[in-house]
Amino acid sequence: MRNRATTSLNKPKIRQSWSKYNLYNLSRIRPPHFGQRTFFQQKWASKSMARDYHGEQVPEKKWQRMFSPRMRSVVPMSSFEMAKDDGSSQSAGRGSGLDKKPGAPDTLEKFIRSRRVPYTQMTFAPLERRLDTAIFRAMFASSARQARQFVVHGAVTVNGKPMRYPGYLLNPGDMFQVEPERVMYATGAPKDRNERRQTRAARKEKAAAKEAEEAAEEAASTEEAKDETKGEAKEEAAVETESPRETLTALLAQAKNIMSRSKDVLPAKRKQELRGFQKAVRRILSRSGSSTVLTTNLEEQFAELTTLLKAKRAEKPSDSKAKEENGENSEEATAEKPSTENSASEDVAGKAPENSPITTQLAEAFRQATQNPEQDVDASELTDHEFEVLRRALIQMRDNPIDSTKPYATPWRPREYMSAFAMIPRYLEVNHNICAAVYLRHPVARPGWTEVPSPFGEATHTPAFLWYLRRR
């Protein structure tokens, strides 16, 4: 929902925000044409327009005290040019009619001459020092107001210490960090109605389970529990009858689907796929003896799957060797790996250790594949590329899981219209993995460029600068 107080559509004001309303307003601003207006009116209009964007949350008096007419700038120097000339050739003959020959190859100098330093664009540079603005600039929050809220709510640390003042002025070298969860919430797409419903259902289920658990504890009826587990085991056994090769192919297909990054795929559809993939992975895992333990913890699940993949990698060369040899390769292949063979027998017996069932299943799958006359199917199953696809899908699932307890839509995806505002100014060095950034230096202007992000050009900034320049 649009905040009508801050994001007006009648009298558009540009804000430090990623909302679509702001984007629309941004798309329709035009360069100001002052026409017959007085100089005072020009200055007034410009400064109010600029202030709607720059430090809108800062009181005017406070900003006036921060304003400084001295603006920082740098000139990029080339060490090569400076080595060629100690400055004397530039100064030689000035005023005595000696001028540079046309077409002198001083490219850097020419470049600097050709571009003026946009000083007035630096009018609002002091505001970029504020902690809340810097958080917004580092893309940790979707608006400066939200950044301010993060600070006030204690989600931000400066140099490792909690900092609750959004007006704290960062010093060069200060490192600030926002809680990654908050950043994910601020920048992630919100949940839609279905997801919210699912969250509620999950919460209720959890509560019910908790109650049931308590009830069960009270009753302490162990026999019933045993029966239940037996029933589950039976079900698992029923699933196990499905051939491992089929599940593998299904897995691969799903992984491929996930990794295919076509633009027109709807997020909802992708989510369905992901969910399906997760289910399939779980199903495979549940075949192993210690399934109930493993499926609970996502990390362990991932570790298990990676070991599975490693096992695949290890077995692959031997398998291909086996293919090169004659028909009775399968026996040889199994003979090469006595351990897996052993575990297979154990599996049959039903006393499998934790990791072996998976490898045995794989081994079995490979044996079946090699015994099959349809070699092409088998080959497609085992290419390196597909391993890679499967592995990447697994990693993605680990990093970006479906979790209804999160306050944002899962798996995480960027919020809509975020890319139109995505930029990171040079005076910040940001590490997005940990949602931390270092304020390297104050923003500076250089020939042709400014470092203060602003939607307005010099036509607005110069009158605004003049407004604040006046002596009071």
Binding site: S27, R28, S73, P76, M77, M82, A422, I424, A436
Partner: protein, 336 residues
């Protein structure tokens, strides 16, 4: 509004990985891409702001590797990879923090980081080391514009005299011109002159003015850029680069080592100075350490009326403005 969002605005709803997706895309005049094929102006009205590339994950890890694992100097890595020294230091700090958080098993925002790196231009890790010279992440030799260089000065110089950057600095700060002899000596060995300034004691720099107006003479631009040793290197390259490139390289590394040594020494000296003024006592029956700093109470510090600000302690008869309007009441710095 929704008409716009559904028509033209729909482009901005989702991003394409590896491309920027800015509003200026709609304007045919602005829809021009830079050398790297990236649309870099996020705001259609502000042509003097561009979205500059950030370090890619690989380049960041490479910087960390070189500085921490290979123990290279920050200065050297900065020159090799074309990244500002402050940024190199920040990257090391951030990666260290990241490793620490990983060790502690804290949750990271990995999908978020990936999405950002898809939306924003990035500087990749080049395979060819020459790429860093021709297409660096940023200019590493930025000269800050000094306050004294703002006014335009009419400064007549005799024709017999070479007027170089050292003289320009003196002219800007109003210092008397150098003697011919000194100027000639400095011009004869420019590398040594600059080295003496940048690696020497900063308190030895000549000053002009008296009392409160006393200030250091403006140094030449060669000494005020972050990498003065690169000028010496380029001078060497111009004179000997064709004939003996090996020698140039060894000299370069020697200069780097020298810079590192000087930095190290400076740090040590500052540490020693800090420790000399502080006398630490750790009583056995106390949980705390007591640090005694030396203060000076004399006519110079307290002043004639006893209200001087140099003297230690709360001053009597001087109002404290700590609750007054306009006074900064929140912390101004957080110690690392």
């Amino acid at each position: 509004m929704f008409k716009w969002l559904n028509a033209q605005g729909s482009e901005f709803k989702h991003h394409t990985p590896g491309e920027t997706n800015y509003l200026s895309k709609l304007d045919p005049k602005l829809n021009e891409k830079n050398a790297n094929g990236i649309l870099e102006k996020p705001f259609p009205l502000n042509l003097s702001f561009r979205s500059e590339p950030i370090l890619s994950e690989d380049l960041r890890n490479e910087i960390y590797n070189r500085v921490v694992r290979m123990q290279r100097s920050v200065r050297g890595v900065s020159v090799e990879l074309g990244v500002d020294m402050r940024r190199v230091a920040a990257v090391v700090r951030l990666v260290e923090l990241e490793n620490k958080m990983k060790e502690q098993g804290k949750s990271l925002a990995i999908p978020y980081a990936r999405a950002i790196h898809e939306m924003v231009p990035t500087t990749p890790l080049y395979d060819d080391a020459r790429e860093y010279r021709s297409n660096p992440h940023e200019n590493i030799n930025d000269l800050p514009v000094h306050r004294l260089t703002d006014p335009q000065i009419f400064y007549p110089v005799s024709e017999s005299r070479q007027f170089n950057r050292i003289d320009a600095g003196r002219a800007f700060s109003g210092a008397p011109a150098l003697l011919h002899r000194d100027a000639a000596r400095m011009a004869a060995e420019p590398d040594e002159t600059i080295r003496r300034i940048t690696q020497g004691d900063f308190r030895q720099i000549e000053t002009v003015g008296k009392g409160e107006d006393e200030q250091q003479v403006l140094l030449p631009a060669d000494a005020r850029i972050p990498h003065p040793h690169l000028i010496a290197n380029d001078r060497n390259r111009i004179s000997h680069g064709m004939t003996e490139p090996g020698l140039v390289r060894t000299k370069y590394y020697k200069r780097l080592d020298q810079e590192m040594e000087v930095d190290q020494k400076r740090k040590e000296r500052a540490q020693q100075r800090r420790e000399r003024t502080i006398h630490k006592v750790q009583p056995e029956n106390s949980r705390f350490e007591f640090r005694f700093r030396d203060a000076v109470v004399s006519a110079q510090t307290t002043g004639a009326n006893g209200r001087g600000s140099q003297a230690p302690g709360h001053r009597y008869g001087v109002p404290s403005y700590d609750r007054k309007k306009g006074q900064v009441k929140i912390p101004t710095r957080v110690k690392v």
